[in-house]
């Protein structure tokens, strides 16, 4: 059947929903002219004519304040004929999926959500006492997934009522394109793909990642700064170290990958390169290469525990990908 409900707010009121305590918004809109706006536990609720044992629940969500330190921001609540079945909550900026039959063991997502960004969130929920399952997607990508579960709470055999619910904190949670499907995902990210394959491979059919140069579904590492730094540590037999700072000034913790040169044990005249951290221990020496990064600098450290002076060259690449720390 596909889509069984769409609450897109384009009527300019809440009449598409069974009940609603949220307001209509006409400025911050994902699609069309209107969206919904929830605050302080307001919601938009749809009760179906009959419960669905397999249900797909979709919505765009956008928060007006930073959720990273807030607790208990409900996003979606699914209930059966008699009682609650699951809830997808936002806590400290990440999604937690709660089964109501085991509410003390939520499943945690790994994406840190921020304010003022629209997120397309969709849940697939299968009600069953042994082969139940659920999957949560953000922007079409799997965020949380579990199967072979008892997802059934009480005697309910499916989801009948869905709430796109507001927040328990200051600010607003905007929602748009509230939809329910019964057999397919409302948003299929594979419907729009920009794919580049190697020469002679058909981009319409090729699936081997070796032959796909670029795929719009996946992020990439993007670097912008490369360099090297030579560090010398005078040895006196004790642990000595020198740290060199490289300023990147990105203002966020970026991905940094560092290599260091060293002489191999088997061929001490051959200079080779290895990823940092790197350690060389012998009976008389200990040499270590370490690297750390923060929002402004890359720190390169050479440690030398020997009686002789030691020099190593560090080579680094700093990427513009945020670690999110």
């Amino acid at each position: 059947m596909g889509n069984v409900f769409l609450g897109d707010f384009e009527t300019g009121d809440t009449s598409q929903f069974t009940s609603a305590s949220g307001a209509i918004e006409s400025t911050i809109v994902k699609k069309g002219l209107y969206s919904g706006k929830n605050s302080d536990n307001q919601n938009f609720t749809k009760t179906l004519a009959s419960a669905l044992s397999t249900i797909y629940i979709h919505g765009y969500f956008r928060l007006s304040v930073d959720p990273s330190s807030s607790v208990g921001w409900f996003v979606v609540v699914g209930s059966g004929e008699t009682t609650g079945q699951f809830s997808l909550r936002l806590t400290n900026g990440r999604l937690y999926f709660y089964l109501d039959n085991n509410p003390t063991a939520p499943y945690m997502g790994s994406t840190q959500l921020t304010n003022d960004v629209w997120y397309e969130i969709e849940i697939k929920f299968v009600t069953h006492d042994s082969t139940g399952s659920f999957e949560v997607r953000i922007n079409g990508q799997t965020e949380i997934i579990a199967s072979a579960l008892d997802t059934k709470n009480s005697t309910d055999t499916g989801i009948k009522t869905v709430k796109w619910q507001g927040i328990n904190a200051a600010g607003y949670c905007y929602v748009d394109q509230c939809a329910i499907n019964d057999d397919t995902w409302y948003y299929n990210p594979d419907e729009f793909i920009i794919k580049i394959t190697k020469d002679t491979y058909d981009a319409l059919t090729e699936e081997n990642p070796n032959n796909i140069i670029y795929h719009s579904k996946y992020n990439t590492l993007k670097y912008y700064l490369s360099g090297n730094s030579s560090i010398t540590v005078v040895g006196d037999g004790s642990d000595k170290s020198t740290t060199v700072e490289v300023t990147h000034s990105l203002g966020f913790f970026p991905v940094g990958i560092v290599y260091v040169n060293f002489f191999t044990q088997n061929s001490p005249t051959s200079l080779q390169y290895a990823i940092v951290p790197h350690v060389q221990n012998t009976l008389t020496t200990k040499r270590e290469a370490h690297a750390w990064i923060d929002a402004n600098k890359l720190y390169l450290q050479l440690m030398n525990k020997s009686s002789s002076t030691y020099t190593a060259v560090f080579y680094y690449k700093i990427f513009k990908n945020r670690l999110g720390f």
Binding site: M108, Y214, N219, H278
Partner: protein, 360 residues
Amino acid sequence: MLNDFNSLEREGLLRQLSYLRARLLAIEGMLNGRAYIDIARIATAIVTNAKIGSVGANKITTAQMNVATDLYVGDPNEGGYIHFDAANDRIVLYDDDNARMVISDSIRISLPGYDALTDTNLDHFGLYTDADNILIKEFARGSTTVTTAEQTKLITHGLDYVPMFLVFVYDTVSSTWQLVPHFQSTFVVPPYGATADTTYLYISNFTANTTFVYYIFYDNMVGSSAKTITESENVLKASKLGVNALSSVDPNDYIVHSDLNTFKIIKEGTYPITYSADGTYSLKHYAQMSNPSACLVFIKFPDGYAALIPGNGACNSKDYNFAAYQCSLNTTDISFKLARLGGSGTALVVKYYIFETPLS
């Protein structure tokens, strides 16, 4: 004579008939193709010049159409479409809800859910060539078995500089994949090692026979010997600022090049970790892959600095109060060990990237 004249006239008429028939077929072909015209929504008086240069049997072979402002291919109200935006000198590809690709004097391709016209967070783009946001480009990738009998396998790259490289090993003891650093010790033989020089990637194995996955990138770490590639006949490429994309065949001159594989991130995420005791900490990565093998994991320690956690090795916090080590990956979990060596900090954060796995 009359017969000859009639014959010539008949020949001429037949030629004329043939010509007119060809024209008719051409026009009919164009009309048959009008479905393609129907989906182009052309606003009033925006086509400043349109001409057909030549026609074939069933298609326009050469033509020109100057568009003053907008041309839409596909219906903006019905899902994906292309917008030829002459006013802003750009072409925009839309999915149902967002601009996903913008071609102007740069190329931007956003990830699903993000608008390539309005978003500026680089983490929401797979490709963003406005500046030199360079995608690392693979020279070689593969998987190889290294036996304990051979100890060290040499993979020839011959780039004449030391390239960026990553090596991951399937650890048969833990049945997990691990990033291979290089540790040397006179006291304990490390199980694995990975190093490179200007000619080879060296992969060492001193424990049970097992499989390694490796990536060698054109992107140089040490040295800068110019490289050239033989380009395919049809390429899509975006050069660094100041480089002529029509003439350069040096892979390191490009942000992206359709002959060179990019290093795709299949899944990424962050997790808060609360230290409670020395031991193993695990998180669910939920990457929908049957064979994940390549993973980079960074950890932010309580002292406020972040480091890369290796597989068979350790990283320390900058204040040396913590050690994180033996980071590993399987189909469901990322695991690593923590040891607190001093201080009282408990709040750590982990960021992971799981990359595509080479298929043999």
